[in-house]
Amino acid sequence: MSEAAAHTHGDVHDDHDHHEAPFWKQYVFSTDHKVIGIQYGFTSLLFLAFGFFLMMVMRWSIAYPDRAVPMLSDWPWFQAWLDNEGRVTGDLYNMFGAMHGTIMVFLGIVPLAFGAFGNYVTPLQIGAPDMAFPRLNMASFWCFLLGGVLMFVSFFLPSGAAKVGWTNYSPLATTTDLNFSSQFWTGQTQWLVGMVFLISSSLLGAVNFIATIINLRCRGMTWMRLPFFVWAMMVTGFLLLLAFPPLEVAAIMQLMDRLAGTSFFVPTGLNVNGIAFDAAGGGSPLLYQHLFWFLAHPEVYVLILPAIAIVSEIIPCNTRKPLWGYKSMVYAVMALGFLAFIVWAHHMYMTGMGPAVSTFFQTTTVLISVPSVILITSLLISMWGGSIRFNPPMLFATAFIPMFGIGGLTGLPLAFSLPDLHLHDTYYVIAHFHYIVAPGTIFGLFAGIYHWFPKHTGRQMNTLLGHLHFWPSLICMNGIFAPMFLQGMTGFHRRAFDGGAAYEEISTRVIAEPGTFVAGLFEKLRIVGEGQPVEMIDLNIVTSTFAWLLALAQVPFIINLFMSVYVGKKVTSDNPWDATTLEWATPTPPPHGNFLTEPVAYRGPYEYSVPGSDVDFTPQFEDDPAVVKKERSVKDKNVSADDSSKS
């Protein structure tokens, strides 16, 4: 009724769909959530590739610290950062390390997961014509792009990009690059400015998502009929909305420290290179860490929740079974979102926090594993006894579960302050969180791309190339990160740009005596010389090689992505996977405004293989009078309360 009223206001004067908007309005400054989603997707894929490139250079430095970097050593920009023999210097390693983290987290995965998939799929799944604030949506994207470009440009400044780790801890971050006359145009400052833009973009995005999900659900789409994807997006939105502002505060305060000379994070009596630092002092470096991790821990869930959400759409669809424990998953994801805010200081056990605080944070950290396990277990049980279609999206989705499991379980030792003393900042930590975000989240995102590709293009992605993408990626990912656990437990430090060669006691620890099978294998691959034992440091070469192979493994995906747009197999219906959620009710590709007729959700999101039905899926949008009637009589109260059109 109110909706009908809303229609009468606007429809008198316009009908945008009839005349074509100019190109720049349709594809560049578009307010259509789908176009913005694709924009987010492409930008973030580019940034992902760039972040990956940085990592490959770093891996070269770790594996072969005494050899010139191939191909790049003649590039003028690199000269300031290489030594005379063309080797990577510590500065370059630090810069790439910091920017790899920043780009992957803030410019790669979050925009791809939340910006691209969230934007494209959420309004479709709740049956909305667009986001609640389309222009805000556009502003959010351009804000993100501006922040990203600033970060990218900072590489080419005389100071180079930020180089004190993606965490940008003060006072190191405050005092680095201070020897430049124009403080504004240094990498450290640009990192902060870029961050402020990225955070603003995320905040606008989060407001938009939550408002859309709460207010723009179509008729019949009650809370418990929302696909799990939408629930996860809403929780992610809240995480971004409430956790990002403290980081914005931290960024602004650090910006003041650098530009206005304040000393928020500069303690009294700080000396830099033997010279007393010219500031009032009295600040607290710990304050920065608190503000930073207040965001950055929830950020971890911002990285993982969309992936879980995508996987939980794909698994029921390809096992032809309902999602097991939908309600418990919804409550679990809410609990996860809540707990994510009160675990942050487990990143700070080494800062000299007292035992009482550590105990509190250990407790909450262990508690938060409970909802995570609920989510993973539900997904696992969902596959039990299903007739599974192992197409590329499903392969990635299936692989996601054990990879995320490994990442999650190896996090448990880090949750306790005592083991953390040993493992803090070692390769163990790197392996732990990369298992979650690299084979975890990124596999989830690949699954999503394969899954929703036909919706936008009307063509399927190639299955053979999909397999060629998946299997090498899976092997390489494990080849990269599994040895890191070993190295980390030995004590390899993540910030050593020579891969730990300087620390002989650790790096020469023998893992296989000559003559054994492993040593023979290493000899054959020419990683160690003949008759030499395999030492811990030799694993660096294994890891790095797998990293470069992983880059090759992405080639089939890139080919597949671009080729399938033109020559992929055409889909025969709007619902090629026989899925049940609302996005498959739209035409292919969905027009501006999404639905041709007003969508109505008649039932829950995962009604696969309903007993008594002659097909193995019953979409949410399928009008089945019998079912509707039955539901009315059972849940009369529920339906009429939530259904806005019944007044």
Binding site: L287, H290, F341, A345, G354, P355, A356, V357
Partner: protein, 122 residues
């Protein structure tokens, strides 16, 4: 929404009074700070002054939030959102302070910190 003329007139009156009360409370806050006679505790701003000063601010803030921002009759959804926001804000402030002054850990700076908390003037 209460849109009838009588209701609106009533609202106008309410807003006027609230505005006057806000001004009165501002004057009270200023007087508490500036007039020596109204200075609670030892001279200067001590924790007594901080508690009293901030409670006056809280009264003013709740007037603005409840009346001007209509939080006295808002939808449940907004209360829920604000409740969570408030919880997280409290956890941010509370837990960072907790980390600053760990009751078990004894060290030079923590003792000083505790002193700072007990006696706000530092």
């Amino acid at each position: 929404m209460a849109d009838s003329p009588e209701e609106l007139a009533k609202h106008k009156k309410l807003y006027k009074y609230v505005g006057i009360w806000l001004i009165v409370f501002s004057c009270v806050a200023l007087a508490l700070g500036k007039i020596p006679f109204l200075d609670f505790g030892p001279p200067g701003a001590t924790w007594e002054d901080i508690v009293i000063g901030l409670s006056v601010s809280c009264i003013k803030a709740s007037l603005v939030a409840l009346i001007f921002m209509h939080l006295n009759h808002e939808k449940g959804l907004i209360y829920k959102t604000l409740l969570f926001t408030f919880l997280f804000f409290v956890s941010l402030m509370g837990l960072t302070l907790f980390a600053l002054a760990d009751p078990i850990k004894e060290s030079y700076d923590t003792l000083n910190t505790l002193k700072g908390i007990l006696n706000f003037k530092s």
